[in-house]
Amino acid sequence: MSKPTLHIPAVPARPGEAPDFSYVHLAPAGAALRPDPRVPVRETVELADSLIRVLDEEGKARGAWDPKLEPSVLLAGLQNMVLTRVFDDRMQRTQRQGRITFYVRSYGEEAVSVAAAAALAETDMLFPSYRNQGLFLARGVSLVDLMCQLLSNTRDMCKGRQLPVMYHSAEKRVFSISGNLATQYPQAVGWAMAAAIKGESQLAAAWIGEGSTAAADFHHALTFAKVYKAPVILNVVNNQWAISTFQGYAGGEQRSFAARGPGVGIAGLRVDGNDFLAVYAATQWAAERARSGEGATLIELVTYRAGAHSTSDDPSRYRPREEFGEWPLGDPVQRLKQHLIQIGTWSEAQHEALLATVEEQVATAWKQAMAFGTLNEGEKLDPKLMFSDVYKEMPAHLQLQCAQMESGI
């Protein structure tokens, strides 16, 4: 009998090796069945292991999961994805120039956030990770507000307390991003439980990366969502990498992340995360399920982290440079663009024009944001802000420390 040896998850390709995505099994677009959103959990076991896709290679929408969206909705989606990408590229450059201390792009994953935001109601509460800027942009949070946070300047929504990208928007119902992975997951479930307790019909939706599914809070969220049938959508963004760690180290070998849903008794869907229509349709299905009282859905969004983990990271140390070019699910922006051209509501020329406008829009916003100062230049936030909001009222010992700071102690 072969002795057990420690299994080391396989990593398809390391620097210098050729990219290898043979582990990604593609179902053809339109192949997946679409059951009624109220089906028993067991009937989603199949879906949790397959891959829901709508857009085919020519950009045609196929099958039961085609949400049949108005061109205007598709166009808005394309615009928001383009906006997200242009914003990311520009902010990354400003980081390189030393204007901001840190940045995280969502390059290659824009559909995950933008399509979900489009499919949900404005009153639904969103619990993002640090790679869901698309949610803020799709919900219409102003570029200047986001940039001021990145700059920790006088208009910073976080009053200088948070690392760049840790946004929030109470007005647009997007929760405060935490630097601690997965903590928002059970919070989203609790938020949804409260909605159910109050008899309100809003949902909560949360996002984490596939690497973060190993965290305790992933389990807490699934358990509580299952037990109380909480009206929540739990999204796992499987972009294949967690900094340098391949998804196999989170348990992605053989078994999908979506399968953990049916495993504990909530619905599970596995979706082409670079297919705007598929993400929209899956979110819509899960929302309908939750609103009809059938509880939570775990949605795995299969995508690829096309860029570095963050501006502190250098992926060429642990994976082949050219991987994204080979990624079988392509580029979400290109694929939706292709679809729009395919159905005749879009053209290369219009796309060029859109890019130009958005570049302009972002550049203008940046100028406005810079006018409110940066971390190191211009007008600055009052350091006394360091002591407020620790508690609702400032306790005596903080008043004293604040005074000491002012007097230079």
């Binding site: 509460m125 929504m157 976080c158 009053k159 307390r161 948070q162 840790m166 929030h168 928007s169 109470a170 929760f175 405060s176 935490s178 601690n180 903590t183 997951y185 059970p186 919070q187 989203a188 479930v189 609790g190 938020w191 949804a192 439980m193 409260a194 909605a195 307790i197 109050k198 909560a204 305790a216 809070d217 389990h219 807490h220 969220a221 358990t223 509580f224 037990v227 909001d389 620790v390 508690y391 609702k392 306790p395 005596a396 010992h397």
Partner: protein, 342 residues
């Protein structure tokens, strides 16, 4: 103030939740075995029957999940009162408390907040062994953004719990389980006392508050100041009386915010200070009390500040009474402080 009745600490805490569930539809109670059963210490007895399974929730056994979910409920407009069955079991929730609950208001510049109360029984004296006896207040008092409270009698327990539930900041509410059914002076051989007849067991049936952040003077005196909280307040009083020392005993009640004015006033008056708590001594909350007191009262101190605390070991089942910082140990501390021989 409304009519009073005699309550033990369990009844007083139950009454506090009852009053608040009644007053505010936003108040919910959740935890392991708190619903149908009414809690392993019966503190939530009858509440689910009265307010329904949607407001008094039995939960899965996942302290981290309980607090994580409660934070989300708080963000969505509820005022959750979460029970952690024993303080020894709060650590799985430590990350949600420290990284999330304590930080949310700050990091979001008050755009999001979670007014949570976390109730948990602490302390020894019931032969619970090392996993049913701990007093971890120190590892919470150090965390900016949460308040930590520990009552020593039924009246304070109810008033402080109501104040905690109404507080818009998160509060960790420690309940010295040895005091649930009666005061305890640290002598295990005496028959267990009940709260009956104790002045602080006369508790208003209705709504009232005891302000969080104010210490109380449990016993007036001028020879030495004894600073303590929870079970040890009673031990300090007993030790002072046994020793015949005119001690002023201060019940801190709230570790964060800490009422240094009341403490300093007393120490400046007496010139001597003994600090007593049940938690392990090293880097425990008594260290902060000692450091702060010597910073503020250095010039009035006539002797080193004395700490009497649990030994720096786990809480051992068989040696509970050698471990517990009881009357004798506090008395020795007093003698030390007053440099009385023997």
């Amino acid at each position: 103030m409304s009519v009073t009745s005699t309550m033990n600490m369990v009844q007083a805490l139950n009454s506090a939740m009852d009053v608040m569930l009644e007053r505010h539809a936003s108040v919910v109670v959740l935890g392991e075995d708190v619903g149908y059963f009414g809690g392993v210490f019966r503190v939530t007895d009858g509440l689910q029957k009265k307010y329904g399974a949607h407001r008094v929730l039995d939960t899965p056994i996942a302290e981290g999940g309980i607090i994580g979910a409660a934070i989300g409920m708080g963000v969505n407009g509820l005022r959750p009162v979460a029970e952690i069955q024993f303080a020894d079991y709060i650590y799985p929730a430590y990350d949600q408390i420290v990284s999330e609950l304590a930080r949310l208001r700050y990091r979001s510049a008050a755009a999001f907040t979670a007014p949570l109360t976390i109730r948990t029984p602490c302390g020894g004296g019931i032969r619970g062994g090392q996993t049913h006896s701990q007093s971890p207040e120190g590892v919470f008092a150090h965390v900016s953004g949460i308040k930590t409270v520990m009552p020593s009698n039924p009246y304070d327990a109810k008033g402080l719990l109501i104040a905690a539930i109404e507080d818009d900041d998160p509060v960790i509410f420690f309940e010295p389980k040895r005091l649930y059914n009666g005061p305890f002076d640290g002598d295990p051989d005496k028959p267990a006392q009940s709260w009956l007849g104790h002045p602080m067991a006369e508790v208003p049936q209705g709504y009232y508050r005891v302000e969080i952040g104010k210490a109380s003077v449990a016993r007036e005196g001028s020879a030495v100041t004894m600073v303590s909280y929870g079970t040890m307040v009673h031990v300090c009083i007993a030790a002072a009386e046994a020793e015949g020392v005119d001690a002023e005993v201060i019940d801190v009640r709230s570790m964060m915010p800490l009422d240094m004015d009341t403490i300093a006033q007393s120490v400046e008056k007496t010139g001597r200070c003994l600090i007593a708590h049940e938690a392990t001594r090293f880097a425990g909350f008594g260290a902060e009390l000692s450091a702060s007191i010597q910073e503020r009262c250095f010039w009035s101190l006539e002797a080193p500040i004395e700490r009497v605390a649990g030994w720096d070991t786990p809480y051992p089942h068989a040696f509970e009474w050698q471990y517990f910082p009881g009357k004798q140990r506090v008395q020795r501390g007093l003698r030390q402080l007053l440099n009385i021989e023997g």
